[in-house]
């Protein structure tokens, strides 16, 4: 079981949790497991079945874009981080 960190803008889709446990040996499998239990999250971060380009996915501290994408392996002690851009600052 790996841990998925949910960014603040998406927490309402998982009932407010900051982290959620998920099973799966790859990023794709972990996300599928997560989406099955939290369909609202799927609606927010996927677009026609693909993960939106404005959401970065990290396994531990590595961006999966520079590894094997959604096929990047996920171990039981790994943390998957979903990270969309955050803009707030001034007002």
């Amino acid at each position: 079981m790996s841990t998925v960190r949910i960014p603040p803008v998406l927490r309402e889709t998982v009932g407010g949790a900051r982290t959620v446990d998920a099973v799966g040996a790859t990023v794709a499998a972990v996300l599928d497991d997560l989406f099955a239990r939290h369909p609202a999250l799927r609606d927010r971060v996927t677009d026609e079945g693909q993960l939106s380009r404005f959401v970065n996915v990290y396994v531990n501290d590595r961006d999966v874009r520079y590894r094997e994408g959604l096929d990047t392996p996920v171990g039981p002690d790994d943390t998957v981080i979903l990270l969309p851009a955050m803009a707030g600052g001034s007002r």
């Binding site: 603040p8 900051r18 990270l83 851009a85 803009a87 707030g88 600052g89």
Partner: protein
């Protein structure tokens, strides 16, 4: 047959000036640290303690006329005595202070003072830090930093940069102070509600440090003004509230090769990183596609913890210092995240994307 024993002579500053004009070679027997603080331009440094070991090398000709001086005339008298004992024939010691020498118009060379006495006092606690020193403080005083936004993040950044002696602070903001800002925008005060934020910021910053040059840019960053606004600055601090401005700033900063210290906040969470064009990733390397606005609610919509801009902003200010001083490791290539709810910092790596439309291989360098 031997030459007659040489008498040791001492002269006043006036006498020393006269001998110098006659071509006497000047030996300064003080320590290097004293020499560095100021010295007679034609003099040769030969500290008293080094005399036995180095005299023959520095002054091979024992008939050369020598004028020896120190700070007041004590060490030079001992040096002159040693020289005469060791066969030098024409040695004169100046029995006067170097101030007397200078007051009589004697030539003097002092290093250019990096800091005024007032600056040395004001910034003394950071001048003491070996990585800063007077030269580093001078860099800070000569540096120009532009803050995009004089609000949540801009407030702590500006306050600490001004306090620390960053010379010029530019503020880009077209907003006025609102009562709801005061919970976190610590540049502003209750009696300034309705005042332009840049003006309120200038009043606060100049009350803190009258030496800081505060430049007000009462406008919103647009594609028309962005290059003009950032061109004159060394470092840009991005604390804006929307994606349009962040991408606009990123692309212009990459074109003009300006480092950008990026911060963003949302409720209990903050993020900071530093973009150094072509040396590390840029904002588009990290997020190639601009997200829809519903993923970027401003503080006005989503809410933000009052202390959060303070924590994130001061990490940004720390990045500015390192960029200006050229010391340490910045957050270039790392995104630092702070979770105030659990008091946890974590970071992920950010890579330069070869396909980045702003700084990648296809982009014009």
């Amino acid at each position: 047959m031997s030459t007659p024993a040489t008498q040791l002579r001492e002269v006043s500053a006036e006498g020393a000036l006269d001998l110098a004009s006659q071509g006497y070679r000047i030996l300064d027997v003080r320590e290097p640290v004293e020499w560095n603080a100021g010295h007679i331009p034609d003099a040769t440094l030969l500290p008293l303690a080094d005399l036995p070991a180095r005299a023959a090398e520095v002054v091979p000709d024992k008939n050369a006329p020598l004028l020896v001086h120190c700070a007041v005339g004590a060490r030079s008298l001992r040096a002159a005595a040693w020289l005469i004992q060791n066969g030098y024939r024409d040695v004169v010691s100046m029995r006067a202070s170097l101030r007397d020498w200078r007051q009589l118009g004697g030539a003097w060379e002092a290093p250019q003072e990096l800091l005024t006495p007032a600056q040395q006092l004001r910034y003394s606690r950071q001048v003491l830090i070996p990585e800063i020193g007077q030269a580093g403080q001078r860099k800070l005083l000569d540096s120009r930093v532009l803050l995009i936004g004089a609000g949540g993040l801009g407030s702590p950044v500006a306050l600490y940069l001004a306090a620390s002696g960053i010379g010029t602070l530019g503020l880009v903001d077209d907003d006025v102070v609102d009562e709801s800002n005061l919970q976190r925008q610590v540049l502003h005060t209750s009696d300034r509600v309705g005042m332009p934020k840049t003006e309120s910021a200038r009043l606060t910053l100049n009350a803190l440090n009258p030496e800081t040059r505060v430049k007000e840019h009462r406008e919103r960053l647009t594609s028309e003004n962005v290059e003009r606004l950032i061109a004159d600055y060394d470092v840009i601090v991005d604390g804006t509230d929307n994606f349009d401005t962040r991408y606009l700033l990123n692309d212009a900063a990459v074109r003009l090769r300006k480092p950008v210290v990026h911060g963003s906040i949302y409720r209990w969470d903050g993020q900071v990183t530093t973009f150094v064009p072509f040396a590390g990733p840029c904002y588009r390397c990290m997020y190639p596609t601009q997200p829809p606005d519903e993923l970027a609610p401003a503080c006005a919509v989503a809410g933000v913890l009052g202390v959060l801009p303070g924590i994130v902003g001061l990490i940004q200010a720390n990045e500015v210092f390192k960029l200006v001083l050229g010391v340490g490791e910045t957050l270039a290539g790392r995104l630092l995240m702070f979770d105030a709810m659990s008091t946890e910092f974590s970071e992920v790596k950010v890579w330069r994307d070869p396909a980045c439309p702003a700084c990648g291989e296809g982009a014009q360098q």
